[in-house]
């Protein structure tokens, strides 16, 4: 790598100095290429060059200098935003100490050469298994401290990248959350500051170690984070490196980054709490919200969100490079189940596919999923309002809805009615009324009224594989003294 005096001096520079230097470079760049009022730069402006043909040979050099100024200013800001977090993480009791040193290294440019190699590697390959393997090989060849510095220097690339070791992705995504919070603070967006601060709060997570349950506060483990638009996030509960059973949960309509912590995140943690114990400490649960989800009931009738999200979920899970012996389970709630169905249709092959209060997997028969090795489960309260959705899909398919029927609406048959699907108990198996359109019941597998334990524990048995879950309708409630 060519000697770069700027890089060599930056390791001493603090974030405010770097930002000040970037601002000065912006001024110079603006002078070189005035956009609003060309006449304001009589000395350096390119317009002066164009007016004086004898200066034409300077034009290209000035353009290059302008580009250098812009690129360097952007790079300085990137380094400054990393350097700012080096001090912040030193105050965080759960952040590993190596992270601060790696942040200083990343800000000073130590990892730049390796990061450039990684960018080149990623750009040269199509997303998929081969690229994931190449990325994994790349990081395996780096010393641990360099690998961490690369992950932090290129957090926006490394955070969501398949094939990267989990710990590096966690560190990269935590940095992205910190940077988003810092930016929100600068803009006085107090709601966003609160939102991002909650994402950084350590979570108390239970694990089973040496035959005993232990509870520990650990840094958050994100495999995705993007604050733009609805927001994208994927959080891991448990130790993904050692897990022998892994669940990926996908939430339904109305969820976004703002609902994540108390909604999909809390639900996944509750499921993990059960699965972790059932598996004896060998399970991990991932709350995945890596695609846009419908935000209204009208949008929830469209297939477009699932058609876009299914392949994204497939690529995400493939990028984890889980071992062939790891038991994998996809759990989708409501529209999230439609996303999981499309992921399977797109080629993902989990060991178990669980539909919770599903409007459909996007198919009218289990065979249409083309996943004969996947065990299929479904949960639905008899009186759940979602039972209406597949009826409308079928009516639409049969042409009974007239002009209301569209090819981009409807999600197929109700999974509980598909052949080859095991319906699981939900705690309402013996209710007197087995029909209805109860909107509250639609969330009573994870949220809404808090009455969800039977559903949660049944999903956890599927995830852990310790014993069969209780099928619907045979839960024993009669005295059975033993």
């Amino acid at each position: 790598m060519a000697y770069d005096p700027l890089v060599s001096m930056l390791w001493l520079a603090d974030a405010p100095s770097m930002r000040a230097l970037a601002a000065r470079l912006d001024d110079v760049s603006g002078g070189l290429a005035p956009r609003v009022a060309p006449g304001l730069s009589p000395v350096f402006g390119l317009d002066q060059v164009s007016r004086h043909p004898e200066l034409a040979h300077y034009a290209e050099r000035l353009r290059s200098l302008r580009h250098w100024c812009e690129a360097t200013a952007a790079d300085l800001r990137r380094r400054a935003s990393i350097a700012e977090q080096a001090d912040a993480v030193s105050l965080d009791p759960v952040e590993p100490t190596a992270v601060r040193a790696a942040l200083v290294a990343a800000a000073s440019g130590t990892a730049d050469a390796a990061l450039a190699d990684l960018r080149q590697l990623v750009a040269a390959r199509e997303a998929g298994f081969d690229r994931d393997a190449a990325v994994a090989g790349f990081f395996a060849g780096l010393p641990p401290d360099t690998a961490l510095a690369v992950a932090l220097a290129g957090a926006d690339l490394v955070g969501p990248l398949g094939g990267v070791p989990y710990g590096l992705r966690y560190a990269a995504n935590r940095l992205l959350v910190r940077q988003a919070r810092a930016e929100a603070r600068t803009l006085w967006l107090t709601d966003r500051v609160t939102l991002f601060s909650r994402l950084l709060e350590p979570r108390e997570v239970r694990t089973v170690r040496d035959g005993r349950v232990v509870s520990e506060k650990a840094p958050r483990q994100f495999l995705l984070f993007d604050a733009s638009g609805q927001g994208r996030v994927a959080e891991v509960f448990g130790d993904l490196d050692t897990a022998t059973s892994v669940a990926v949960t996908v939430p339904g309509t109305g969820n976004n980054l703002e609902t994540y912590t108390d909604g999909p995140g809390a639900n996944a943690r509750a499921l993990h709490d059960f699965a972790e114990r059932f598996s004896g400490g060998r399970s991990a649960t991932i709350a995945w919200m890596g695609c846009d989800l419908p935000q209204s009931l009208t949008q929830a009738t469209w297939t477009s969100y699932a058609e876009a999200g299914g392949p994204m979920l497939r690529d995400f899970v493939t990028g984890l490079r889980l071992g062939a012996d790891v038991r994998t389970t996809l759990v989708g709630h409501s529209y999230g189940s439609t996303v999981t169905g499309h992921a399977v249709s797109a080629g993902l092959r989990p060991g178990n596919l669980v539909a919770v209060a599903s409007p459909g997997w996007g198919v009218y028969s289990a065979e249409a999923l083309h996943a004969p090795g996947t065990r299929l489960y479904a949960l639905r309260h008899p009186h759940d309002v979602i039972s209406v959705a597949p009826v409308l899909s079928l009516a639409s398919k049969a042409g009974l809805l007239g002009l209301l029927a569209t090819p981009w609406a409807g999600h197929g048959q109700d999974p509980i009615l598909l052949g080859g699907v095991t319906r699981l108990a939900t705690g309402t198996d013996t209710d007197l009324v087995q029909l209805g359109v109860d909107a509250h019941a639609h969330g009573d597998y994870f949220t809404t009224t808090g009455q969800s334990k039977i559903a949660t524990k049944n999903m956890a048995h599927v995830v852990a594989g310790d014993q069969g879950p209780m099928p619907f309708g045979i839960a024993r409630s009669e005295p059975n003294e033993g």
């Binding site: 979570r203 004896g280 705690g427 809404t448 808090g450 334990k453 014993q467």
Partner: protein, 155 residues
């Protein structure tokens, strides 16, 4: 149809509706629900596990998506020489208290388990014979009211 022919029907409807109103109780507050749930869990440990002391007690938020309401869960992890017997003893106790046993899977080969509920909370007990442990778990349903002081820092 004359008005007096409606009278018996109106009377029946009134009696039934009043009956419904009379049986509708005020929902317990979150504080009451938590107090009753913890008491039920302590009772289960005292009765089914001979008063064994949980080596870990953990409080967690539990899922609730209703305005002005909250719910929490509580866990006891307890060492037990005979988890299968403990699960059955607790099941018997819960039945004797009139709790609704939602699922009795106490003969499960790997992890015997029983799930029960009452109006304000759900309870479960799961045995782990392989590591000689029992897990007693309780969660309130969504309940209104102030979060009690000792639950305020639960996240």
């Amino acid at each position: 149809m004359k008005a007096k022919e409606f009278a018996p029907l109106v009377a029946v409807v009134m009696i039934l509706s009043q009956g419904c109103l009379m049986t509708e109780n005020e929902p317990p507050t979150l504080a009451d629900g938590l107090r009753l749930m913890v008491a039920a869990m302590d009772e289960a440990v005292a009765v089914g596990l001979d008063g064994a002391v949980p080596y870990m007690k953990t409080k967690s938020p539990w899922q609730c998506d209703q305005a002005q309401k909250r719910s929490f869960s509580y866990s006891y992890d307890i060492k037990s020489k005979d988890p299968r017997a403990a699960v059955k003893a607790v099941r018997t106790h819960w039945r004797s208290r009139g709790y609704r046993v939602q699922e009795d899977n106490s003969d499960a080969p790997a992890h015997p388990e029983v799930y029960a509920d009452v109006a304000a909370f759900e309870l479960s007990i799961v045995g782990f014979p392989e590591r000689e442990e029992v897990w007693v778990h309780g969660n309130t349903v969504c309940l209104p009211g102030e979060v009690p002081e000792e639950w305020r820092d639960v996240r």
